[in-house]
Symmetry: C2
Subunit: 340 residues, 2 copies
DNA sequence: TTGTAAGCGTTATCAA
DNA sequence: TTGATAACGCTTACAA
């Protein structure tokens, strides 16, 4: 910057002003400075700017793992939303491990970022205190209620109720769940099972515990295992509600391997609307949670906190929309137009 | 840091020494400083350190998009590898758009990072000059040859030859390709088609141009479209080589929709070994490129450049191993043990 | 409209 | 083994 100033015959302050688009600069001066910048190929040193400004323009994104398609697609949307607002995203993977999720809240990386978008999966009620952080943070997902931070979530209960209702409307009565977390009272699993129960009760059906399959991790592999356990138990099943798409796709895999017709014998619905669901065989009916809306809302909320638009605004909870996307796994192959 | 120094009764230099694990500190002094750090909950200011050290501890990762499972899984591995070496990863999405790929090489973000791992998809021979950058960079993929940077790649020709050979070994003779890029002479598409041709020629078979299906983007949707075009053309086909898994899965989707038995009528093989291939119906035979090896190699190469272990070391090209993973889409359902 | 000078929180140099 | 002091490159009062 000194070199640029010398070459343009001005002070470094003026160079700084030009670089930062300060208004009151004589056009001639500005031109000279810009010429000097171009000649020397000067670029501002971001570290120095960060130090002085106390901001980095980077926001952290903490997710379980990018190899889970839902989080990969979410990260994609968040990166785009952040970029549109001049922010860069630093991704941290927690592996859904409690210790790592706690680290995210206190770690060194927080000094590198202006704020954090955090999708916790392992934190429990006992960790509520750790969420009282002194930096801007937006929580994603359903893990925390009344949390001490802005929070973007969807109406899980209602969405799960609608998904179950969709199966009931098709005449299914023996609807199994894949992915329940026994003993949990908060988090996506608990809420979605709650919606499932509600729908059944409203239809005047009892909830058969034998139909509720546990799966700790929500991966394809655990979905497959749970589906096998359910089938092996001999319980009667005419539909499956996978609490996320990965679980549902794992279940679909097992049903295919056992030559069980989907949706003829068993209809399947998932949750998340990851891209893969439009291409599986059969294609998977699922709940679309409005990923873009979640991403832009989260970034906007975080940016408002970072810029202290309203310093003492109370923490908000934004509930996003959802939609049931009907595909072959519940309606059959004739009824749904193939994509592509 | 000043406060810590005051509390411990030492100079800030000593605090700095303790923080950085400098060797020659009297244990008593060290203890006092550490106590003061704990009391005050002090944490070093990374921006200041970056400014002074001229390094940020962040490396950039530029990929087309995270919603493509291959790149999501690659990013996952790279983030883990970087973390194990004390580095943080900043992800940039280029959307496989040439302008954005060029931006990555010159953009402001480069000042935020110590180096770049770059997986270009759109740059062509005319952009070779832009790759002469003055910061540490490691290239991934097959887009550039003799590039002016370290380069991690796999033997695409050989891998594609092996994939085609696998189909030939099964007795298939009318092997279609999905994903070719006409007119291109470098890049994964060209190399993989080359391997395909080699295998056919070695088997004494002619290459039928009608069997080579174009697909610009390597997504499920384009794979589906290309498969439909091939089928509609009426050309005889008994096997399909998807140049990546997304294309192959898109093709699989169309074959399923048209009630064409896989692998009975048409066998299918993909390329990349994304997780989804182990759960599709049928599961997909594919080429596994050794993702972990690619990730750790890339990070190690980059770190060596950043740390200038050997300042003038010539650029290296590391060729990673591959393996054919045989699943139902070529062998049938009886022959392969199901996962889970 | 532009310049001067202070200071952001570290680390590096060199002396003690 | 430790301390004083000078950078690192920028932004920002404040002054001119």
């Amino acid at each position: 910057m000194h070199e640029v100033a010398a070459r343009a015959g001005v002070s470094i302050k003026t160079v700084s002003n030009v670089v930062n688009g300060y208004q009151y600069i004589r056009p001639a001066t500005k031109e000279r400075v810009e010429a000097a910048i171009a000649d020397l190929g000067y670029q501002v040193n971001i570290s120095a700017r960060n130090l002085r400004r106390g901001r980095t323009g980077i926001i952290g994104l903490a997710v379980p793992e990018l190899s889970l398609p839902y989080f990969a697609e979410l990260a994609d949307s968040l990166i785009r939303a952040a970029e549109a607002r001049g922010l860069t995203v630093l991704i941290e993977q927690t592996g859904a491990v409690r210790e790592r999720e706690l680290e995210v809240l206190s770690g060194q990386r927080r000094h590198l970022t202006d704020g954090l978008i955090f999708s916790p999966l392992a934190l429990g009620p006992q960790d509520a205190a750790a969420l009282h952080v002194d930096f801007p943070m937006v929580l994603l997902g359903e893990r925390i209620f009344g949390g001490p931070a802005d929070h973007v979530t969807m109406n899980n209960v209602e969405a799960a109720r609608a998904a179950t209702q969709h199966l009931l409307d098709l005449g299914r009565r023996r609807i199994a769940v894949v992915g329940a977390h026994e003993g949990e009272t908060m988090g996506s699993a608990a809420l979605r099972v709650q919606g499932y129960r509600q729908a059944l009760e409203e239809a005047g059906l009892a909830v058969d515990p034998a139909l509720v399959g546990e799966a700790g991790l929500w991966h394809r592999a655990t979905g497959a295992e749970t589906m096998e356990r359910l089938l092996d138990s001999g319980v009667e099943i005419d539909a499956v509600f996978g609490l996320n798409d990965a679980l549902a796709l794992g279940a679909l895999h097992v049903l295919h391997a056992r030559r069980i017709d989907v949706p003829g014998q068993i209809a399947v619905i998932g949750f998340d609307d990851i891209e893969e669901t439009a291409y599986s065989s059969p294609t998977l009916t699922t709940v679309a949670p409005g990923r873009e809306q979640i991403a832009t809302t989260a970034v906007d909320l975080l940016l408002a906190r970072i810029e202290e638009v309203e310093p003492d605004a109370p923490f908000v909870q934004v509930v996003t929309d959802f939609e049931i996307v009907v595909r072959e796994s519940t309606l059959g192959e004739q009824a749904v137009a193939a994509p592509s």
